[in-house]
């Protein structure tokens, strides 16, 4: 995205400007790590660019050919590192893109995950939101392309959406930076605990649920403190090789100990990812 003069002046007059500063790659150490997920073509990159500015660090995911972009922003004196995950429709089928996103949510331990959704195709986009919410509780849904939805005569009741999902949802038009102030505020509130999320979990058929219920305690014993044992159980029931390996190698169990120490440098976490 090329910044236009209009975009700059918008930025300077918007209320967030006083508190929000694009940090690009000059972030250095950061206080919080935020992951950006979403389907392809939802304006995820617009959100990313609007928050971090144009100076981003672009490289590859360790050992992969998929592009990885990261940047940063500061909000109310705190510094946030934003990692742009590959655009995916789901986290189930473990294509390279999906695997990267999933691993980052699981092993990268972001403090908050923003899922950018397309307001004009909410149903399709919610599939990913529901899957992300199975891995992590700390989710903010960014309902983007609100202007396009309006043009198409689609009304999205973001409050009802937020209530039904159990996580905060913020309407945005990333291209014009509308709603981005609310977005960064919500991210900050979620991390600080001012807003509490209680994600709903998809209700699977009873016989699946009972199998999950049987596995969850076992997994929790094997990897104490793991916050998403339910998700791990579902993956094991699906015969997911990567998750099996992570459990066998103790990587899942190790996650718990990482949680207590705040992550200062992302590189060590990514290295962990590259090892498997």
């Amino acid at each position: 995205m090329t910044p236009t003069a209009a975009a700059h002046s918008n930025c300077e007059t918007c209320p967030a400007h006083a508190q929000l500063a694009q940090m690009g790659v000059s972030l250095g150490k950061f206080d919080y790590l935020v992951a950006l997920a979403g389907n392809p073509n939802t304006g995820k990159s617009s959100v990313f660019n609007a928050l971090t500015g144009l100076r981003q660090h672009v490289g590859n995911w360790t050992g992969k050919t998929v592009m990885r972009a990261e940047g940063g922003y500061a909000f109310q004196t705190l510094r946030y590192k934003l990692v742009d995950l590959p655009g995916t429709y789901s986290l189930l089928s473990a294509s390279e893109d999906e695997e990267i996103s999933r691993n980052f949510l699981l092993f990268g331990r972001p403090d908050c995950t923003v899922v950018v959704v397309d307001a004009t195709a909410l149903e399709r986009n919610l599939n990913l939101v529901l899957q992300v919410m199975e891995i992590t509780d700390r989710v903010v849904v960014c309902v983007n392309l609100m202007d396009e939805a309006q043009r198409k005569g689609i009304e999205v009741d973001v409050r009802s959406l937020s209530r039904d999902l159990g996580v905060p949802a913020v309407p945005t038009v990333a291209r014009t930076k509308e709603g981005l102030h609310e977005l960064v505020q919500t991210i900050a509130d979620l991390i600080s605990g001012a807003v509490i999320s209680k994600p709903v979990h998809p209700s699977h058929p009873p016989e699946l649920e009972s199998a999950v219920d049987e596995l969850v305690p076992l997994i929790e014993q094997s990897a104490p403190g793991l916050p998403n044992a339910r998700w791990v159980a579902l993956r094991l029931l699906d015969g997911d090789h990567k998750v099996r390996q992570a459990l066998l190698s103790g990587e899942l169990a190790d996650l718990e100990s990482q949680q207590s120490a705040p992550i200062e440098e992302i590189s060590s976490v990514v290295a962990l990812q590259g090892r498997q």
């Binding site: 919610l126 596995l215 094991l236 699906d238 015969g239």
Partner: protein, 464 residues
């Protein structure tokens, strides 16, 4: 590492046990409950006003991907595309052939007037140029009609629906459902289809998709099939039905190709490449209005010119090789004749003849030039046979070379099943980095081709 109460291995054992109890539709059930929840939540928070595009898409999808109507609709569309191609390509082909023939004879006359040695004239005009003009006039018109229509279907978003309709068949045969998609790509170009198998993550299923991609006819082979269907199959029917019969024959060949893809996948999955089928999510993109400029560009520049150029690049040297083979005589018999005689017995066994097999050997670099190569060997360079129309091609093949319906049918089958072209073989090697799998990828189709054509020829001769 933290202290553990439960050993990960016991957790996995338990998980595997539960997994077997649940059965293999686990993924489907998870995905459906996920989708049900997404729909429920979206329904509560979304109100749709005037724009009903999405509804439209869903209504169309319910019909074209329905379990009952999906396959018939697909066959109908496919037949229509071939029928339009066959009907539309006839005249332009004839005109092009006439034009090139005029150029050729004028040039030969000129060369003779200038006193250029016969062998140079022959080599350039009756060898190289005739090869080129054959390729252009036989292939260009069908391509210029077929590719835009193919691109429209692609642009509309119909191809993912085709994959959706066929996905269960592939899973039944122990392959990956996405193979339906890579197979659809193979109709465009097998080398592209082989590269497209990267979307399949499991190495086992990916190998199956790579090794069987060749069983669907690519753009290079469609003109051959269409020509044979037009000349032979159509001719056996009254003129009113001829074009329909020809289109039907091409559809039939395509279906046989799909059948062999499934059969070969099934055999591979049961023998050398055993394992579990993995699940996947296939998203059906919204229907889009095709953009005319893009279609014209993709179909004419990317496809037509690309395929034609490749054909020309291989046809020119092939034309030269044929001319040399036909004009170097050992003990009074040309090399071409000798090679053809050598292959004749094998050719006869599979309902073809030595010349056809020789043409296939010469055409290994590109399938596109099989028919022109064959015709050039038949005609030899000495005969200035004025072959300008499909009718005359048939006259040459049937009356002078003794072709029968069996020859045509088996040639279509052989063309469908035989070894991949050089480009595809190289692509298979690049994708697998394995000499073993590349060899199998090249020889397995050849084996199928010989086996099937031999069986058909034998049966045909017993019955007839």
């Amino acid at each position: 590492m933290t202290a553990k109460v439960a050993d990960p291995k016991t957790v996995l054992l338990r998980a595997d046990h539960l997994r077997r109890q649940i059965g293999d539709d686990f993924r489907d059930r998870i995905v459906s409950s996920l989708y049900a929840d997404a729909r429920r939540i979206a329904d509560r928070s979304v109100r749709i006003g005037a724009d009903q595009k999405w509804d439209w898409d869903q209504k169309v999808d319910r019909i074209v991907t329905s379990p009952v109507l999906g396959l018939p609709i697909m066959l109908g569309i496919l037949s229509l595309v071939f029928w339009i191609t066959i009907v539309g390509a006839n005249y332009p082909s004839q005109m092009l052939a006439e034009f090139f023939f005029v150029v050729e004879s004028t040039a030969v006359d000129l060369f003779t007037d200038w006193g250029v040695p016969d062998w140079i004239t022959g080599f350039i005009w009756n060898g190289v140029f005739r090869g080129l003009s054959w390729v252009v006039s036989v292939m260009l018109p069908p391509m210029a009609i077929f590719f835009p229509m193919f691109t429209i279907l692609e642009d509309l978003g119909y191809l993912p629906r085709v994959a959706f309709n066929l996905d269960w068949l592939f899973r039944k045969s122990g392959a990956h459902g996405k193979q339906a998609l890579t197979m659809a790509m193979g109709f465009g170009c097998n080398a592209a289809g082989v590269t497209a198998t990267r979307v399949i993550d499991s190495p086992r299923e990916r190998l199956i998709a790579i090794l069987t991609n060749n069983f669907v006819p690519c753009n290079g082979r469609f003109p051959t099939l269409i020509m044979l269907a037009t000349i032979f199959v159509a001719a056996a029917f009254p003129p009113a039905f001829a074009s329909f019969a020809a289109a039907g024959a091409v559809v039939g060949v395509v279906l046989i190709g799909v059948g062999f893809t499934l059969l070969a996948s099934w055999l591979l999955a049961r023998t050398v490449l055993q394992g579990e089928a993995s699940a996947f999510t296939l998203e059906l993109p919204p229907y889009r209005r095709p953009s005319i400029m893009r279609i014209l560009y993709t179909s004419l520049i990317d496809r037509t010119i690309f395929v034609l150029w490749r054909a020309i690049m291989t046809a020119a040297p092939a034309g030269a090789v044929i001319w040399i083979l036909a004009n170097i005589n050992v003990a009074g018999v040309s090399l071409a004749q000798r090679s053809a005689d050598f292959l004749d017995l094998l050719g006869f066994a599979i309902g073809l003849d030595g010349v056809i097999l020789l043409a296939y050997v010469i055409a290994i670099p590109a399938n596109e030039i099989v028919v022109p190569t064959m015709l050039m060997i038949y005609m030899g360079v000495g005969m200035m046979s004025d072959v300008t129309s499909y009718d005359e091609i048939r006259a040459l093949l049937v009356e002078q070379q003794g072709w029968t319906m069996l020859t045509a049918v088996n040639l279509m089958l052989f063309s469908l099943l035989h070894n991949p072209c050089a480009t595809t073989i190289i692509t298979i090697w690049k994708e697998t980095r394995s000499t073993k799998w590349t060899t199998i990828g090249a020889l397995m189709p050849l084996f199928f081709a010989f086996a099937v054509t031999f069986a058909v020829a034998t049966l045909w001769r017993i019955i007839a």
